[in-house]
């Protein structure tokens, strides 16, 4: 974008359009995740499978903590605090990987398989789609980190960082609804 825009005023005008475009993308994503939530309530009703509650809580706390570190990274670059920006990006990516290990490495190795009727289909559909977004978010963060390490971004011009941070928080917001829907709502069916 810097090749196209030359002045700060033009950059800021472009920024408004970029933000609007990103939020439209989130709107389209919301249809996807709302569809998955609707499938959960239609197929599971007021029941849920017997899942590891401790694991659900741990991965949720990890994802919330990663949003915190991502916010610190963004705050860092806004205030030209480059060292903290880069270090917090790495911690965020690490927490994202931990979340993936928790879901794919542990939850998916439990007693429920994808072919186990409505429970298996919905559980793997919801966690799988969300995990895919977390994975793409981690890749996004690592690209931003590499760019930052090579001297890109400043307090005035950091749209890439802002977009990455908002995308990561969006993935967190999705889990805020998925966590109670999968682990907490309804009574357990053994």
């Amino acid at each position: 974008m810097s090749a196209v825009t030359t002045t700060l005023a033009e950059y800021r005008e472009q920024l408004k359009n970029n933000r609007l475009g990103l939020w439209f993308f989130f709107l389209s994503e919301a249809f996807l995740f709302t569809g998955l939530l609707a499938a959960r309530f239609y197929l599971w009703g007021n029941t849920r499978p017997d899942l590891d509650q401790g694991l659900g809580l741990v991965v949720t706390v990890i994802l919330l903590a990663s949003s915190f570190t991502m916010n610190r990274a963004e705050t860092g670059i806004v205030h030209d605090d480059r060292e903290r920006f880069l270090s917090n990006l790495l911690v965020t990516a690490g927490l994202g990987v931990l979340f993936l290990i928790g879901v794919v490495g542990f939850e998916w190795q439990g007693h429920i398989r994808p072919g186990d009727g409505a429970f298996g289909a919905v559980l793997y559909g919801m966690t799988g789609m969300h995990a895919l977004h977390v994975l793409s978010g981690v890749v996004f963060i690592l690209i931003i980190w590499n760019n930052g390490r090579n001297g890109h971004y400043s307090g005035e011009r950091h749209w890439g960082v802002e977009a990455c941070a908002i995308y990561w928080h969006y993935v967190d917001v999705v889990w805020v609804f998925f966590y109670p829907a999968i682990y907490l709502m309804g009574h357990v069916v053994h």
């Binding site: 950059y11 800021r12 005008e13 472009q14 920024l15 408004k16 933000r19 609007l20 939020w23 007021n46 509650q53 809580l57 949720t60 706390v61 919330l64 903590a65 949003s67 915190f68 570190t69 991502m70 916010n71 610190r72 963004e74 705050t75 806004v78 205030h79 605090d81 060292e83 903290r84 880069l86 270090s87 917090n88 790495l90 911690v91 307090g155 005035e156 950091h158 802002e162 941070a165 908002i166 928080h169 969006y170 967190d172 917001v173 805020v176 609804f177 966590y179 109670p180 682990y183 907490l184 709502m185 309804g186």
Partner: protein, 141 residues
């Protein structure tokens, strides 16, 4: 000790452990971030002796130096305030997650838990995703 008392003690223990774990995680991440940053903040803060040594003697230059020093202090204060907001948001999200978890143990309705999730999402949207910036002029957050 009957079952009700045991249940209440277990609930209180979960809340304390969840919040304690969240705070401990936040502190650990903060320290890790500081270690990785290799004391960038500490290095940026000038000591009194350094400031006195650097202070020019001419009146005009002194005024300019004070102006720059005040601007630097203001920048530091804004940065600290921004980081502090992030910590407060994390603590609120941790608290609401603990409430959600305990509400599940107490058999609270699906609607109530959905409302808690809505509040959490609202906090993230406002403080982390800066949704209000959509209606602002295109400056920084």
């Amino acid at each position: 000790m009957d079952n009700t008392q045991l249940f209440m003690i277990a609930t209180a223990a979960i809340v304390v452990l969840t919040l304690g774990g969240g705070v401990a995680l936040a502190l650990a991440l903060y320290q890790l971030s500081r270690v990785l940053a290799e004391g960038a903040v500490a290095g940026a803060a000038p000591t009194e002796a350094m400031a006195l040594e650097a202070a020019p003697t001419e009146a005009m230059a002194l005024a300019l130096w004070k102006k720059e020093r005040d601007a630097e202090r203001m920048r530091g204060a804004r940065l600290t305030a921004a980081y502090r907001t992030g910590v407060m948001v994390l603590l609120w999200l941790g608290l609401l997650t603990a409430v959600e978890f305990v509400a599940n143990l107490m058999g609270v309705s699906t609607v109530a838990m959905f409302m808690i999730a809505l509040v959490k999402a609202g906090i993230i949207l406002q403080f982390f995703m800066h949704v209000s910036s959509l209606w602002m002029e295109g400056g920084s957050h």
